[in-house]
């Protein structure tokens, strides 16, 4: 009986330009489906867990296509409510070299933004679950979505389920003030916090709030403050060095309340970097759920994330043996035959 992990959030249709084309050049768009929490459910299915994703999707063929996409991974989609106005979309123009990837969100009025607790049966959803994961993106969509996120976290905690939250601040969706207010409440119900950022209001001396520029010792200062305030069991964060849109280096940090650990660092040639953070989150959850130490779980997460960069789409198709093999250091990319 595989472990049941529940995630909640939005799943969107992603429309991306093929062949390095710009939006103004293309006459076709590749489509796939993704969203932070959905991506986590899918990746966990790849590792043999039972991922469950709940959300609300319009009752038309596009909503159905999003569900069918999730099903390919084996994600349990039975709790997805149907109705509302429309499927959230985002347009992606992948970057190359010094040309940045461009994202145009078109997710206003998506069905999930008007969903309510009454659309979901939390008792059924959380029955036998061992983990609940969500992110800071969903509560940013609307007040209703924020209330629903809170309700879900509370319901999960009430059942003794471990919870994780990927902060994922998106400044186009809400203000830093609003984010801090909402996230501060949500964090009361969170065990594992991923991707800390400045919205929570922590500082390390004079260091700029842009955490990518924090030094490891500063990270530890911030993480300790977070732990002290919210009682998180683990705080983790991916660390990305963006050399260009084609080449990045990634690693991760994890803090267990005592020690700060830093993972191996991977130089990645990028095929598709969207969802790499969700791959880290899902790898971390997988590790923690399966008895790994904090640093081993983070190593698993960052290796999964590295592989994600080589795979098209938001969702990770790396398998458990592939991630394990990379953790062991096999980076040579030799043909497997």
């Amino acid at each position: 009986m595989p472990k049941k992990i529940v995630t909640f959030g939005e799943i969107m249709m992603r429309l991306s330009t093929p062949g390095n084309k710009r939006f103004v050049q293309t006459d076709s768009l590749d489509i796939t489906y993704g969203g932070g929490e959905a991506n986590v459910a899918a990746a966990l299915c790849n590792y043999g867990m039972q991922g469950v994703f709940f959300s609300k999707l319009p009752d038309n063929a596009l909503g159905q296509a999003a569900i069918n996409h999730l099903r390919r991974f084996g994600v349990d989609t039975q709790f997805i409510a149907r109705g509302g106005k429309r499927l959230g979309l985002y347009f992606l123009e992948p970057g190359v070299s010094m040309r940045s990837s461009q994202v145009i969100y078109d997710r206003a009025d998506a069905s999930i933004s008007e969903a309510e607790s009454g659309d979901f049966d939390f008792d059924a959803i959380f029955a036998n679950a061992v983990w609940f994961h969500t992110s800071g993106i969903t509560p940013a969509l609307s007040d209703k979505a924020a209330a629903l996120t809170l309700a879900a976290l509370k319901a999960a905690k009430a059942k003794g389920i471990t919870t994780s939250l990927d902060l994922n601040y998106r400044k186009k969706l809400w203000s830093a003030e609003k984010a801090r207010e909402v996230l501060t409440e949500l964090c009361q119900y969170v065990d594992v916090c991923i991707g800390p950022d400045a919205t929570l209001g922590f500082h390390a001396g004079d260091t700029d709030v842009n955490l990518n520029e924090l030094k490891p010792e500063d990270y530890k200062t911030v993480f300790k403050q977070m732990k002290d305030k919210y009682g998180f069991q683990y705080i983790a964060s991916g660390v990305r060095e963006s050399h260009s849109a084609s080449d990045n280096s990634i690693s991760a940090l994890i803090y267990d309340g005592n020690e700060m650990y830093q993972t191996a660092r991977y130089d990645v040639r990028i095929v598709d970097r969207v969802g790499a953070g969700d791959s880290f989150a899902s790898g971390l959850i997988f590790g923690l759920l399966n008895g790994m130490s904090a640093i081993d779980a983070a190593e698993f997460g960052v290796a999964a994330s590295a592989l994600k960069h080589t795979i098209p789409g938001d969702m990770n198709h790396a398998t458990l043996p592939e991630v394990e093999d990379l953790v062991k250091g096999n980076r040579s990319g030799k043909i497997q035959r």
Copy 2:
């Protein structure tokens, strides 16, 4: 100096499934751009006129792509306002045989629905213009859009410009009552009315309001009532017999206030039937603007419409000689070399 024809309305990105696939099967979508009035402006450019299209589009790369698409035809896009929330979209799953084409509109909150007269300089737009064309779709989008349509029609009439309106009732956009109320006012300022339908409240005895089932003599009864009430100079309508999603027969009717004329009938193998009505409208306008009789203009329009069915996309790429050749009866499709 080519004749200047102004059109006003919405232009959307169209996302259609390739290779006869259904929405739930495809992992790419073909994109093009279209909208009733924009399609008319483009077709008129193909025939050597100066089409001008005004609207409002978001100030992002997607809005720019829609503009660039229009420019390919030579449409003057300088009066398109930029701003607002988003580009209107529609998803198209082309049908085959007895499987119908499916359209999912996703045009709520498009920039045009919140545009106002202040976004446009009617004096500049209508300077030297000889014709203004719009449709019953735009006023259905929002009260603001209806007000703007009315303002544009009034401004055109005030400058002595001939006006045409394609009624194009879409029941998903507004109720028949609301449509009748708004269209009744718009029709005061219209010279040429296309595609009459039941929303205006006319009847021919007991005949069902579905005009496709009207007999020619009933059409005439309705057209006469319309002429009597609104003083239209011409009333025209395409007539479509849908044998299947792959094969249709089309013709058209036109009434000049005295006589009712029916055009030749074309059996068409369908590549893409979207925009066929706009092709009829633009052909009709071209004919009337260039000295053709009512029936000759309608013949030109229906031949252009027939060719449209063989061309992918909403906009017609038939050239003037091609339409003229078809009007003359050359339907054999022999290789031109």
Copy 3:
């Protein structure tokens, strides 16, 4: 709680030439996955049933891809055993006009051909199921597969589950003698028999065994013999008139032990005719399971089959409302918007 229907057989990767190309012309192949019984499970999911498909697939990425394809429809794949030598394949070159479609099977030594009863837990598989469907193709693959098919039918019958068998004689897989011997035994455990053919050894006077050339009255003679010998509850058969590879007409016959009924006849423009028979079978099963009369169930089946011809791939993506709408006679293919 949707009704649970179990099917058993082979699922293959299908590799087909795009763009009307011949095998010797193409440098890519479109892939999808299909097999008679898998197609039935998928279609039943589309109509809101819970389809369960069991089989054996190799433990590699290709086997996984076949599973993922089934999951898109919501088919329950948990009982598919993994292992064996390889995934069965078939190559398809779709025909046009008087050029026939070509199929090259490459299914020898597929994992299913060496599967055994021990690979499956029939108690779990058939728990709460209401119907079991399989075909005459699977027992043709190998003696082991024939034994497994028999075991599955026996297990289903022992649990009081309704069973159906689509005879589907494929002369490249086995001889008529061998087929008759095996099928005769299987038919003992079958309630609904589809696609009768000469392999069972029935005759109507001097009529040639090619049933497509039978007259309706001859069909009835044969069906009656079949009923008398095996006690089938229903016997049904699709009837296909092949005008060319591009245009066919289809209908169906069903015999309830007393009366013979013939359905409406559909002229279909063909996009992809593979799986049309499975669409008929699944529609028939759906109808019978949901309280329709024999003729209504057959009408549902043949309408579903007609729609299948317009959809790429082996599996039917027609929805319940679409089939119902076609049964009601809406064949005009008008745009739905």
Copy 4:
């Protein structure tokens, strides 16, 4: 040892729009290679003969690609001279329904137009050959090409090889007067004449020179005149009824000096009709070379031509058994599996 048949002419790169697009819409072009005489050589290889094609092609990668295309069929390309200015091109926009296919030739200054006898070793080329085929297109390219065609025909006749000429008048390449002058000389060396047209100056009473409108009895009058003047052994012609760019009916006529025969008539749904005439010619040559009667050879040719309409590209990929099967009347297009 397969029979050796030599053909001579131009092979061009063909660039055609995909997906029913017009030239102004497409951002890619499908490429293949073709030319009347090259197509004949390729088809004959398909039927087990040894086709040899000679021509002149530029010494660059495009010329090489044309050679490689011919090699796929097994055509012997060793006598193709390399050099000259450029590869001849033609652009093709396939038509649909009443929209005609458009061809834009871009073949001026192709290498073949400046080739000379000194580029070729006729003794080696014609050694052991049993047939030589060329067409009226090549001599239309330039005076040098006309002289070369004449030299090749003379060399073949001097070796006692049967010769055939497909008249194929193209009015964009030369005037009717020039054509008549050149062809009249070439015809002195021709045994089998295909595709007679008005350029040779024959008439049947008052009948229009457009042979497609000739009645069978008029054809016979013209053919008899041709035979009388040039001593042709056989005169044959395809007959095409163009219902639209999508649907044609084809048949053929052949005259053996005594009797006029008309073949079966095929209704074809068109995938690609370019090269259909060359398919007829190659089928006819195959038949005559392999002991068929005149009418049987023409039946083989027209069946091959019918199949060509269903295959993309200029060259026919129908196999010998497929053509034979169609000649026998199997037009049902049923799946072969």
Copy 5:
């Protein structure tokens, strides 16, 4: 009122192999349109200027497609003459790693090569223009084209318009001697000279004429000689270090008559390097036209050129804010969302 910049030259259809294929492998070609001066006009439209391009194109659908491509950018194409023999073509096989890109030109007898002054109304073309740009490629096409280039430069100078010339020596088009003779005359009418090369006959000591191997101090020597002889206001040159077909480093030099400046250096991962020089030219012109200093204009030009390497096609789709952002040093390629 945007500034009007006129450019003159050839626009060709470019046919390039997709997916890293070689010419002999591909069965499709991607098409776009480009030419040095047309590329400059398009890029300037992207930056908000009014680009005008004049040339001569054949009066067929291919010529129209080239015009439509330019219109997408907003280039004013009203002065393009129609007629002549054919559209110039070039075939491109993009290189990778140590495999070089291959270009096969097929531009002989293009319409522009036979255009004459009488085809153009210089008064209308240059009315209100502030800049005229052309290149050393056009005069290399034919004597007529050289005469036309000279006439255009004289006409522009006579109206007091600033002129620029991109020398762009192509040894396959003409000899160094002929180039020197023609360019020497053209340079009399040029204010800004780009891309100096050895054809003008200048030397820096014993240094090889291959400027890419010049040291900065040698460049200055050559530039000073050029300025002394022709009185150029600015002389600029891109500098390219070609590590492989996949990775280059680029920078630029500009000389204002006193000082020599060198820009920042960019390491670019190449998607498509064709047109990169034109991007530099257009950026430089934009800068000089909009009040930037020489070095700032060159920095803008080289940043635009760097972005061009990441965009498919000859024409640059980088926007003004994107170039400005890169000039400021943002090379990290982070996702913009």
Copy 6:
């Protein structure tokens, strides 16, 4: 008269995922054809030799397609026997960065594995040949294939033809013990041995048998032992450093019985690395056949191999001048125009 080189082995259809997709993501597969010895024959044709490949292929359209692919290069395919069960296949998922390429072989029961000497006329095959090349893959397929390989080597030696063997140990096909036993016998008849590996049982002190980790001096020790035992004239090996699936460095070693030479080293950005070893082998053979010294032949081979990495498919499309140019050191990848 080009030199005739004969190769023998298997040619498979290769099915690879496009666009960096994984097997579970794709709905199409690119196809090409390849096999070690077939690849060598094709490359030698590119260099102007007459490559002859013999094998056995099924008598269906897929077997024909493999033959047609070889013919494109000019490979003589007349000695390929037809019959047997099926075409061997392999599925390729190309890797990127640290994600390895995955190969799934599906070649069991391919026609070649049951071929026998009686299928081939060695006298005709080897008439006038100067070289025979085969590999250690073919004998691994089946005992029959091993016997056939031995018979072919013996026949070639009996005619005084130089022979080469690429050891190419594939552990999934046979055990090391079996390989050693069979290869030991084959090596008796081999003049040039390529790609030595541990299966022959040689050792250099304690060094691990994975030759990629051998130091040059160790290689020499092993090579000397091989020479002493089998009397090979030359022993050569490619050396690959796999930095990732996207970037490798390659070089080669060759031993002439006295001296060990190491070639230049190339850093390659990988488009497709399958067949790179065969490109080395064919370059080496070309060099040795055409009078180059051992090191020059190896340099030619490794340059050819480097270019292969940039070309899609198993077979090398690099031309003789391109390889020669790279040998001379031109690695800059500058555009050739």
